[in-house]
Each structure stands twice: as structure tokens, then as C-alpha cells.
Amino acid sequence: MMGIKIASGGFLTTIQDMGRFGYQETGMSVSGVMDQRSASLANILVGNEETEAVIEVTMMGPMIEFTKDNFVAVTGGDLGAKLDGKPMPRYEAVLVRAGQTLSFAGMFSGSRAYVAFAGGLAVPVIMGSKSTNLKSKLGGYEGRKLGTGDEIGFTAPRTWLPNQNKRKLEPEDFSAKELTLRVVMGPQDDCFTEKGIHTFLHSTYTISNEYDRMGCRMQGNIIEHKDGGDIITDGISFGAVQVPSHGNPIVMMADHQTTGGYTKIANVISVDLPKLAQCMPGFRIHFEKVSIEQAQTLYCTQKEEWRALQNALAAQAEPASDLQAVAVAAASNEDRLSWSPQGTYRVVVNGEEFIVDLERESVCFRPS
């Protein structure tokens, strides 16, 4: 199986896509990436659907050896990504060659990095998703975090992508240690006193050490209930701000259980969840109320921006020359294309063999 080999697993490195939907009614958690924006952008940069599975790297990163060439993008927090020991650009599609090693050396900002591979990772789709569910031990790579010696194949690796020079973005800034998360109120905001709601929206909450893929516990001013924090169990959404009787908020994250019996005062909006996913214990949080209409407009605007980016990157100009036509044919026929260390491609088109040098824009016919 050609693709990547894990030389060391790091702290918590898992394969995740946008989650396993359709099974919450059976008690199965959704899982999926913590930071959906970073993961989506990594996928778009390498020409994937934004929902393709990526590797989620947590704080201390893994060492990943490549056994096959492929385009890769690293996004999310700055965990010191390096390619063969040299800094690797973030938020940029980079062609990594077989034999090269991607490693991470440090935590400069944010806490989770995402690695997307063009064409995606060859792990089985279980119940509609490639996400790792650590609790149910299924999905991803054998239902567990990645460790030394694990090998994962590429589904459809690419060594050529259209608009290569445009495949870079300004990295998102995760350096702030104090930030505001916008929320929509509900579903149980009516279980809190007016004073309790005011406290929630006008206090600073500090992220505690109990922050994992299931939830993020915070500490600060006690949020007052009308009649305690217990309710008859109901469903939970990603980003729900649960406030049990102790009065401190817990934000439910990607691995949250499907149902729960505590009051939920509000829900962090989708476009702000990535910011929380990149936070660390000790960071300070303010909550700001927005309407459901505002939240959904922000959500849809983000989706439209991603769609526009995807379209711009996929767009191909009409071939100006035979050379380009050959190159495009080659790109759409990767298995008949090989790369040589001189930077040239060997292409077979209609049974004829060509040598293509994209940098010099030359092509020569090689009679077989």
C-alpha cells in the first residue's frame, strides 16, 4: 500500500472527516474534525471535496513518511510543520515526494493542525464516514489514533493540479489568548434566571485543563438556574453550551455524546467553533449573543466563499498549445504518468509516449 507510513504517532493523531451523520438516533456519536474550517480549506487547497478525510494533529505532531508522491496541504494551528527538517509552508498545496518526511516541531499558535492529501486517504467508509470514533473504536484507522508503523494508502494521488501557483491562502491567525465566541441562545435558555443569562453574556470564562475532543470545560462566574441544571434527556449539537447545576459552562465538541440530561443555555455558532477548537487551557472566553438568522447567514457566506475558491482553483484555461493539451491529458490520466528526478513527466497519450517538461514548457515525442 503506497501512501504514508507513520514513523511516530504524536500526542493524538486521528483520521477525521466531517463526521458520521445518520446514526445519532442509535446513540452513535458524530465525531469528525474539531476545526471544520481548517480541514475544509486543506482539502480545497489540494483539489478535494471539502468533506474528504484528513489527518487531525493535536498539539504534539506525528512524523509521517511518504512512500508515494502526492500534493499535501497543512492548515490549522501552527505546530511547526517541517518537510525533511525544513519549514513547510502552511495553507499551501505542496508536492511531497516519496521518501520525504513531514514532521511537527512545536506549538507556535493554535492546538490542532490538519493535513489533507490530494485524492484522499484509503481507509474504509464505515457507516457513511471515514471519521475515527475513539469511544466506539471504529472508523478511521482501525478505530484508533495513529501509531508507529501504521500505513495508509492514497486513493488517487496527484502530482499535477490546475492553478498550482494559486493554491495558497493567508493562514488563519490563532494567536489570540482571549477571544469572543458568538452564540445563539437555546435550547434551554428559559431554565436560567435573567441574572444567569446576564452573567453568561458578560463574564470571562477560562478554559480548564479538562479540554478534549468530547468537551471543553470552562470556569468563571456561576450561571444561575431557575431550578437546577438537570432536565429530562434530550439531543445535543456540536457547540452546545451545557451548564450543569455547578453553574460553569461546558462546550460540547466533536466527540460529544448524542444525548444528555443537562440544561444548555446556548450554542456556539458554526463559524466560531474552529476558533474554540484551536484554544488551549488558560485561554479566556467571552460569549456574545447573535440571532439564528445572523448565525445562518455567516454560515452560508462561509460556504459560498469556499465554493468560489473551489471553482477558481478548478478552472482550467483552454489549452493554448499542444503542450498544454498533453499536460492536461496527463493530469487526467495519472496512472499513465510518471515523474523523473529531472522534473520531467513521461506521458502516454493514445499509445504514444511523450516527455513533458512543464517548467521549460517543452514536450518531445519519444518513439517506442
Binding site: 451523520f21 445519532q24 445563539v184 458554526s270 438568522e293
Partner: protein
């Protein structure tokens, strides 16, 4: 239907709340609404999650927004009486009671001043409504156990309970879908797999169904266990008689 509330549950889900208590009537309405939503095939709905009090509807705001979705729900609510709701089904769960499969059955008996036979008779007499699944994949929250066999949880929980174990905790009865730690009083075990990730339908049961426990002998248990492993076992299921 005036008591139904649409509660914002983030920007990608709405909680359709039918009440604030545990009752078969509320559960029936939630299940009926779930069927109505599924039949309506509303574009943008990702999935629905029934619980004791509500139906959580997960949706894609880029396809349908909160206001439009709840308006659609209003019209569904109005026409719900006309939607044919199939009668709930009863699923038989074969159980080998006592012995090493149910090491706490004598505790349950003596706690309630009953014989082991009486405990089995009471436990197998009723049909238990599955209100919802949650906690872990395939775990059914059951209602309807007789108070005559209610028993407090173990003082110190077991580190490992085998999947399929049937137990009692207070006034609740339940089945462990997979091996896990737990403090329930174990009275028996079923050879059925409530959860199997390899199976086409990984979770056996669904909310709104009823469970009927049926005592089996050790030989029958082994026979069913073998059929389950080979994938040839078919659950005994029938429509619940209308009360």
C-alpha cells in the same frame, strides 16, 4: 399541538420539543412526527434524533433555514393526524437468566422477597417501550419495568460487563450493547448483538419499538449464539396489539 416548541439548538439543528416528562404518549407523538418528517423528504435535513422529550432535527442551513424549516414543520403538524403511522413493533429478546450469565439474580430476588423464578416471570411478563437510544451506540433506554423487581445499583461497579448482559438499576432495566464497565445488577444475558459495526444495520433496535424478554435454556442460548455469529438468526418481531 399548541404545546410543541421549536428550540434553537445551534445553527444546524432544531429541537422540536413535545413535552417535559417521560410518558409513552409523548414518545408516540415524537415517533409519529419523526415518521412524518421522513415521509416529507424535506431537502436539507441530515438526520433526526428522538429522545424522551423531543426530536432533534439536524439540517443544512445552506439548503433550508430555521424559519422556513419550522414553517414546514407547522404544516406537517397540522396534517399529522392524516399520516398513517404503522403500529409499533415488538422485538423478542431471548435471555438466559441466572447462573454465570446473571450473577445478581439472587440479590434481586432476595431484595424484593421473591424467588428467582418469580423474578424471571415478572421480568418476562411485560413489554418494554424503547424511549430512545443513547449513552453508547445501541443502548436502549427502556420504560415499563415492574417496581416489584426494582433493585439499587451495585455499590462498587464491575470493571467489565459482557455485551448482551441484561440488568436492573433502580426501577430501570436495560441491556449492555457492548462490553463495558457498569454497576447494574445482572440477571441474565442475551445471545443477540444489539450493536455490531460489521452488520448492514449496526444497531438492532430503534426508539418507539417494544422489547419482550423471553427465557431460553442454555442449549437454546448456544444455538442462537451460533446463528447470530453465522448471520442466519432472524429476530422474532411482531406488531404490538393495540391497547
Amino acid at each position: 399541538m399548541n404545546d410543541v416548541r421549536y428550540l434553537v439548538s445551534g445553527d444546524c439543528a432544531v429541537c422540536v420539543e413535545f413535552g417535559n416528562e417521560i410518558s409513552p404518549e409523548i414518545n408516540r407523538r415524537i415517533c409519529a412526527f419523526k415518521i412524518a418528517v421522513e415521509n416529507a423528504q424535506i431537502e436539507g435535513i441530515v438526520e433526526t434524533v428522538p429522545t424522551y422529550r423531543s426530536l432533534l432535527v439536524v439540517y443544512q442551513p445552506e439548503i433550508i433555514r430555521f424559519g422556513e424549516l419550522t414553517k414546514t414543520f407547522d404544516s406537517l403538524m397540522d396534517s399529522m393526524d392524516q399520516i398513517p403511522i404503522p403500529p409499533p413493533s415488538v422485538v423478542e429478546i431471548p435471555v438466559l437468566y441466572g447462573g454465570e450469565m446473571g450473577p445478581d439474580i439472587e440479590t434481586v430476588a432476595s431484595h424484593n422477597g421473591k424467588t428467582v423464578e418469580e423474578v424471571i416471570k415478572i421480568h418476562t411478563s411485560g413489554e418494554y417501550l424503547i424511549y430512545m437510544l443513547g449513552f453508547i451506540a445501541g443502548f436502549p433506554y427502556l420504560g415499563g419495568m415492574s417496581k416489584e423487581i426494582a433493585t439499587p445499583r451495585l455499590k462498587s461497579p464491575r470493571v467489565k460487563i459482557e455485551g448482551g448482559s441484561v440488568g436492573i438499576a433502580g426501577e430501570q432495566t436495560g441491556i449492555y450493547p457492548v462490553a463495558s464497565p457498569g454497576g447494574w445488577q445482572l440477571i441474565g444475558r442475551t445471545p443477540l448483538k444489539l450493536y455490531d459495526s460489521e452488520r448492514e444495520k449496526p444497531v438492532l433496535l430503534s426508539a418507539g419499538q417494544y422489547i419482550k424478554f423471553c427465557p431460553v435454556t442454555e442449549d437454546e442460548y448456544k444455538k442462537i449464539e451460533k446463528q447470530v455469529a453465522e448471520g442466519t438468526y432472524r429476530c422474532v418481531t411482531y406488531d404490538k396489539e393495540v391497547e
